[in-house]
Subunit: 280 residues, 2 copies
């Protein structure tokens, strides 16, 4: 694990690391915020943040305004990149923003040419936490959140791994990717035409399947330009009702899809996770 | 004044506007954060934020994490661009980051080819506030702050116009530009070789001249990579002692020149200005 940069922030540290990923078969970069007083003798729990299309490990740390409350709560935040990257890693041949590098959709690809590198589900769920917990002053207590494509990732990973995450939240998630253009495009390339393989990566489908007991919080702006075509939060509500799963969905008048929305409500999400991580 | 974009944030509005600048002889873009409940019947005071080299009107609004407390305090923030821009506007012929577009240094240029457009001192001090106060729900009460080149701008403009700004602050300012490479390069091009004309744009020189009564707050990181060669906060301290001017300079162990430093202490600066603007 190579330290790329370090900045002091709110008494803690923002660090970017590069490491070799076995599952993605390339170098990966991630960012971490460590609150003040996080040491080997005083390890802290971690919120994993999954970013949206076109993002890297940097966007959340620079734009969310989350560090102040993370410092106060004593919570680390780990922000992985949104896909494998590098010269040997396939990308969309037309440079589309919603496929390939910057758009891994947090799945394990099974189709050519993606399957040798695009294993973001395993990377986020297993490889990265194992590395972080071995190398940094953190506990094995985890929560997960994300935005848009990353909100989809957080919901899917959280719902499928209730023993690994104490709480799950999302901003503006792609809630029902099997039924929207972004998801259908990505899944058909990464997972192939057999739509039965898509279900394991669809939050609404997973939520409808059975009652889930992990605490779930979703934030959504009503002025989000992707609300109707891509995000479909109503599918989450319907699925939660079907499976009798408790779900809090907050709809916000006037808010759009941008980081100005995320920053407006990030404190509440960190407090939500902190309460389940036993920090407050 | 043309509205380019609008985002809701913390119950208020982040807007970007484009307008024709008479003094800069080009179109200029600026950003404004208006807190909740700012209306023509309930106008709010304004903090002007001047950004550093390479920035535009966007960096502060996206990265400083200032909106939450601005919303709570009932303070607007206006962030101008850092120079004139556009096709007819001269730029550094070698594309240097520290001269030309993105690097106006908040002076009124007197030298060719700069003088027809680079009138950032007048733009920030007069033209922009007049426009903002005519078009937006704000009062004529103003404070000013900034970072690096913008910290220099805030100090110079605040010290020279004590009747226009109730309080002045800076993060990592270029405190003594007549005695550092950034300032010497910019001033020799914008103002010419007669160094007597440079004094009016040097915060340390202005501060040494006479006792100033405007409240002054400066934040500086000790791990700032530009501290010794470019920023020279000691020159401010010496000047303030010479003129018997009260100055608060906070030095912070471990903090660098980045936005991670700004965001760590921006709340204190907004509270400082709010106290002088009568908001708290």
């Amino acid at each position: 694990m190579e330290l790329l940069s370090e900045n002091r922030a709110f008494g803690g540290r923002h660090c970017r690391y590069r490491h070799r990923s076995t599952v993605n078969n390339c170098d990966m970069t991630f960012a971490v915020y460590l609150p003040p007083f996080a040491t080997a003798d005083n390890p802290v729990p971690v919120l994993y943040w999954l970013s949206g299309l076109t993002c890297t490990d940097e966007n959340f740390m620079q734009k969310a305004g989350a560090m102040k409350i993370a410092a106060e709560l004593g919570m680390a935040i780990v922000a992985p990149d949104t896909s494998p990257r590098g010269e040997g890693v396939p990308d969309d041949p037309e440079g589309a923003y919603d496929m390939g590098q910057g758009a891994g959709f947090y799945v394990n690809a099974t189709q050519s040419p993606w399957q040798d590198h695009y294993q973001m589900y395993d990377y986020v769920t297993s490889e990265l936490p194992a590395l972080v917990e071995a190398e940094l002053p953190v506990t094995g207590e985890r929560a997960i959140s994300g935005h848009s494509m990353g909100g989809h990732g957080a919901l899917v990973i959280g719902l499928r791994n209730p023993n690994r995450y104490v709480s799950v939240s999302a901003f503006s998630p792609v809630a029902n990717p099997t039924d929207c253009p972004w998801g259908q495009k990505a899944f058909s390339h990464y997972l192939g035409d057999d739509k039965s393989s898509w279900q394991a990566y669809d939050a609404a489908a997973l939520l409808a399947e059975k009652t889930h007991y992990v605490p779930l919080l979703v934030e959504q702006g009503r002025a989000d330009q992707f609300l109707t075509e891509q995000l479909k939060p109503k599918a989450l509500v319907n699925a939660a009702q079907k499976s009798d799963t408790p779900l809090t969905l907050n709809m916000h008048e006037g808010y759009d899809h941008s980081y100005f929305f995320i920053t407006s409500f990030i404190d509440e999400h960190l407090q939500f996770h902190a309460s389940h991580l036993g920090l407050i």
